[in-house]
């Protein structure tokens, strides 16, 4: 490409500098554009983005049912060994045995929020929650059991 001439260079650079100044000048005069969230003050009205990853959660419905079949796909997918699934054998009404989860153990202190477990889950039993205030004084509190006590797998989820 041919270099622009002496005066063309001056003209182009002045134009580009003025463009930049117009942008910052616009922001200076339009204070409603400010993006800052005053976090501890606006806790009540804080809205997190949908794709924000705070922790892994397992949604339960009103009947205390979840969709986890205990297939352990998330445990295999996790690069850090964050998830441990303890399974049990459930005896169904017709006498057949079926694999089900006893405890879905989630170590929040090991989790890097990489989202691989959510991608791996075939039944969409787990998803990323928006809670991010995880600070505790004792590390053992970060080990969480995601399935609520006494919960069952949803009917029809295989």
């Amino acid at each position: 490409m041919k270099e622009p001439g002496y005066f063309k260079t001056i003209y182009l650079s002045v134009i580009s500098l003025l463009k930049g100044m117009k942008m910052t000048g616009y922001y200076f005069t339009h204070l409603k554009e400010i993006q800052t969230e005053q976090y501890p003050d606006n806790r009540a009205t804080l809205v997190m983005a949908d794709r924000f990853r705070g922790e892994v959660i397992m949604p339960h419905n009103d009947l205390n049912e979840h969709s986890c079949t205990g297939c352990q796909a998330c445990e295999i997918a996790c690069p850090n060994g964050t998830i441990k699934i303890i399974t049990k054998q459930e005896i169904l009404a017709d006498g057949k045995k079926k694999k089900a989860i006893d405890q879905f153990v989630y170590h929040l202190d090991l989790c890097t929020m990489c989202n691989l477990c959510i991608v791996a889950c075939p039944t969409d039993a787990i998803k990323m929650g928006h809670e991010f205030e995880h600070s505790v004084f004792d590390k053992s509190q970060l080990k969480k059991i995601l399935n609520v006590k006494g919960s069952k797998v949803k009917a029809g989820v295989e």
Partner: protein, 364 residues
Amino acid sequence: MKTIFLISLSSLARHIHIWLEELIGNPNGVYITEMTIVGISLIVFLVVLCFFLGYAERKVAAFMQIRLGPNRVGPQGSLQIVADTVKLLFKEGLTPTAADKFLFHLAPLIMVITAMLALAPIAFAKDFQIFDMSIGVLYVASVSSMAVIGILMAGWSSYNKYSLLGAMRSGAQIVSYELSVGLSLISIVILTGSLKMSDIVMSQSDGWWLFKGHIPILISFVIFIIASTAEINRAPFDLTEAESELTGGFHTEYSGMKFAMFLLSEYINLFIVSAIAATLFLGGWMPLHFGHWEGFNHIMDYIPSSIWFLGKTFLIIFIIMWFRWTFPRLRVDQLLNLEWKYLLPISMVNILVVTLMAIMGWHF
């Protein structure tokens, strides 16, 4: 000139002078007392100014970057700078073992003193000037270029490669940009025919040079702003500090109040440069007048001259801050290219045009 205030700054100074003459009688005693008063009030003014500029800069920066800026200490964060100063006061003043102790301690003082010296001939209001010398413009140009000695001293004595690199860059930068600053100052001196600050202000009573001088003076105004931004080492020409490359440049090794002095001198220099630009190009304390709009001119006369001066100065300070928070930093070769290949030739040609204009009387 009429002012709505019964006490203007010049009459205040005159009253103090008369009062001191009655009180002391001895002219030498009066002189020394007045100098002390001027010195103390100047220091107080500068400290208040630096507090204000520090706050203003952080707010301007924040708003231009879609942030809020300081907003916790005091109303709207206005006491943030006070908190920072208290923090700096309590910090340990560390001196590197290998440093040249004498020069290391002397450098921040030289920076502040040279910065304060340059304030002497600036007219803050009508008939209100510390020292109206006949070579005001030359004096400011020469004193302000002495700041490079302080920077070189700081860089050399710190015994740190980053400090030394920053100081050397600063040397190259100030030596080159001094030329453009000087040439654009000369273009006004050609038109006024005087180096005296009060003469230069008086010559603009019928219109500011920026308007009277047509395009050549506009060009020299722009060149002055660019070159003086470089001379006071502010972004986009802050190669001497260049946080990302030199971890702070010549003041890397400074901490506590010695560091605060560098900060102080930076803001004083910013004020001086803007004050000079306001005096030479925007008419100093002269109110804005348009040819035959008698009513408009009359209203403008009612605004005190000190407000006019400070208003113009802060306008230019704002423009320089605007530069800082918009433009990316130049490389060293780009910096020198800009001066030697663009600013210097343009201002030289410009000087010829201005001279021709002055001889032919083409300005108003």
